[in-house]
């Protein structure tokens, strides 16, 4: 066989839904389209049905030449069948969870995921024995996926660690989570030392790691998330006016009804309360027309069922035109954007925080209102985008002003500005983020690899 064989390891892979999945999907596809034979090692389908929720539309986007191998994943702490509970778990759940956490971390220091190390390593070895692997790319999080790379490294197989974010840095607070000589720290040092390359989603996270592990700094690279051209077709979009289609056709003047939209997973780190408060204020003080609506789409929380506390927050804004429209399948996201006049980018605070959705937002050519810490790494991506409305704070007053400015930009609907915006977004296409790394790894060939476990 003349094609090199890539083993790509990711816990979350289609049909799993969630932010990191799009990167995993795109990474494996990018290698497959660049001439690699790709085997993906991931969790079984039932894991995603039970815990994260699924987006079946994503499975059709897996390159047909990719082989997907699914490894069963047990998550006792998330087991919901009370009939199986012990007295301790029923009566003293915190004590039980503490004990379970210790058990989880026995073979690998990661709560919840540690026990997956054994099945993952066995699966990686069996794949390598049947069809020698030339490169492993392991994607976090969870970080237990790195153990598959470590297992094959003993046979001389080079590996890439796609950290995405960080293991020992809290990207929201900027706090270092563990010392270099802690158990996690020792794992991290050893894994980084042996890595052919280490990837991060943005420059601030890469810089933090480069400063901490200077000896590996030259192998650390930024592979930003980017946007997927096949999901967003620019011909679907037209400059926004906030007028209904019927009014457009009839040329009738009617009160504007601009539609603001947010799409993405909303965790408790997202300043949802501030957004709803700012929206209400903007409606009250006339910064937004009475007919303006705010659609929030995506999962509320990390799990399949909406977080009730977040639902209650959204409910509070209902009388001011706020609605929760639920998750949107990735295949339908283009249609959602086509129906929106202004996008709202609400993100958790922290200079290390980017997101996948910032790139997708850019690709729409629509005005983008930021509702996040101005030092957030997403701001560096947006700087230079002509239809960007930054905020200098995330309190209700600042958010209201920004929303008003977003509406003004949409009302202006300058086609030349929209064209410049789309042109700006081209640099952030997903394939362009992978291209330099694929070139750098092109020296790996099947001939270089001799052992087979």
């Amino acid at each position: 066989m003349t094609q090199p064989h890539l083993l790509y390891v990711a816990w979350g892979y289609p049909p799993c839904r969630g932010g990191g999945v799009y990167r995993a999907l795109a990474t494996a596809n990018a290698f497959a389209r660049s001439g690699w034979r790709v085997t993906v090692l991931t969790a079984d389908r039932d894991t995603f049905d039970r815990y994260t929720g699924t987006d079946p539309s994503l499975e059709s986007r897996i390159d047909p030449d990719i082989t997907v191998m699914r490894v069963p994943f047990e998550w006792p702490a998330q087991d919901a069948d009370i009939r199986t509970y012990s007295w301790l778990r029923a009566q003293l759940p915190q004590a039980w969870h503490r004990w379970r956490g210790l058990l989880d971390r026995r073979s690998f220091p990661e709560r919840g995921y540690g026990p997956w190390r054994g099945p993952l390593e066995r699966a990686a070895r069996s794949i390598h024995a049947a069809d020698p692997v030339d490169l492993v790319v392991s994607t976090a999080n969870p970080y237990v996926t790195f153990t598959a790379a470590d297992a094959l490294a003993k046979d001389g197989v080079p590996y890439v660690l796609d950290y995405r974010d960080a293991w020992t840095l809290d990207v929201f607070s900027g706090r270092t989570l563990t010392g270099r000589w802690s158990r996690i720290g020792r794992w991290e040092q050893r894994l980084l030392a042996g890595a052919r390359e280490v990837w991060f989603v943005n420059e601030p996270i890469r810089d933090w790691h480069a400063a901490r592990y200077r000896e590996v700094a030259d192998r650390m690279h930024v592979v930003a998330n980017g946007w997927d051209p096949d999901l967003l077709r620019s011909e679907d979009r037209s400059p926004a006016t906030g007028r209904s289609e019927a009014a457009e056709i009839a040329g009738v003047d009617e009160p504007p009804r601009p539609r603001f939209g947010y799409v993405g997973t909303m965790t408790r780190m997202v300043p949802l309360t501030e957004l709803i408060d700012g929206w209400e204020l903007a409606k009250r003080n006339g910064s937004l027309p009475t007919g303006a609506t705010l659609s929030l789409a995506g999962y509320l929380g990390y799990f399949a069922v909406p977080d009730p506390q977040m639902l209650a927050t959204i409910e509070r804004g209902r009388s001011f035109g706020v609605s929760y429209d639920g998750p949107i399948a990735k295949n339908d996201v283009g249609a959602y954007y086509a129906d929106v006049d202004v996008l709202v980018l609400a993100l958790g605070a922290g200079r290390y925080v980017t997101s996948g959705k910032v790139f997708e937002y850019l690709a729409t050519g629509l005005p983008i209102v930021s509702v996040h810490d101005p030092r957030n790494a997403a701001a560096t991506v947006l700087r230079g985008y002509p239809l960007w409305v930054p905020t200098d704070a995330t309190d209700a007053a600042a958010v209201a002003v920004a929303l008003g400015r977003g509406w003004q930009l949409a009302r202006g609907a300058d086609p030349s500005l929209a064209a410049v915006a789309l042109e700006f977004a081209e640099q952030f296409r997903r394939d362009r983020q992978f291209a330099p790394r694929l070139r750098a790894l092109s020296d790996i060939s099947p001939a270089r690899q001799g052992t087979s476990g």
Partner: protein, 139 residues
């Protein structure tokens, strides 16, 4: 599946009732058993096991751990009170015995749900909104 019993031991669980009810098809009867009064649960049958207001969930700090263990062993926690009062109530026992699905919506409701194993040999007994929504969606 014909009947679902939802147990809410604190205000946290009570807040999730509406979301669960939204996921339940119209032909399934829902009974909500609450540890106290005060929560709004429209359109469902409700059984309150105490006249005092529902309490918020309490997280036990390391400092309070020993006292909490003692309180659990002596049956003096909110969860123990909910479990005791629920099992004493003939109405609650009856709905638990005939339920197809019993759901504990918060940690304080789990001990009562756990005891319900003996009242109902066939009902699915689940912890949390997510598992419950999945179960009613797959019936």
């Amino acid at each position: 599946m014909r009947s679902v019993v939802v147990l809410a031991g604190t205000t946290n669980g009570a807040a999730a009732v509406r979301e669960l009810v939204r996921n339940v098809p119209d032909d399934i009867e829902v009974t909500v058993v609450l540890a106290g009064s005060g929560a709004t649960t429209e359109g469902v049958r409700r059984l309150e096991v105490s006249s005092s207001p529902l309490r918020p969930q309490r997280k036990v700090s390391g400092k309070d751990a020993v006292g909490h263990v003692v309180a659990v062993l002596l049956g003096r926690t909110n969860a123990a009170g909910f479990e005791r009062n629920g099992l004493r109530s003939a109405a609650v026992r009856a709905v638990l015995e005939s339920a197809d699905l019993i759901v504990a919506l918060d940690a304080d409701a789990v001990p009562l749900a756990w005891r319900a194993r003996r009242l109902s040999g066939s009902a699915a007994i689940l912890n949390g909104l997510q598992a419950a929504a999945r179960a009613v969606g797959q019936r």
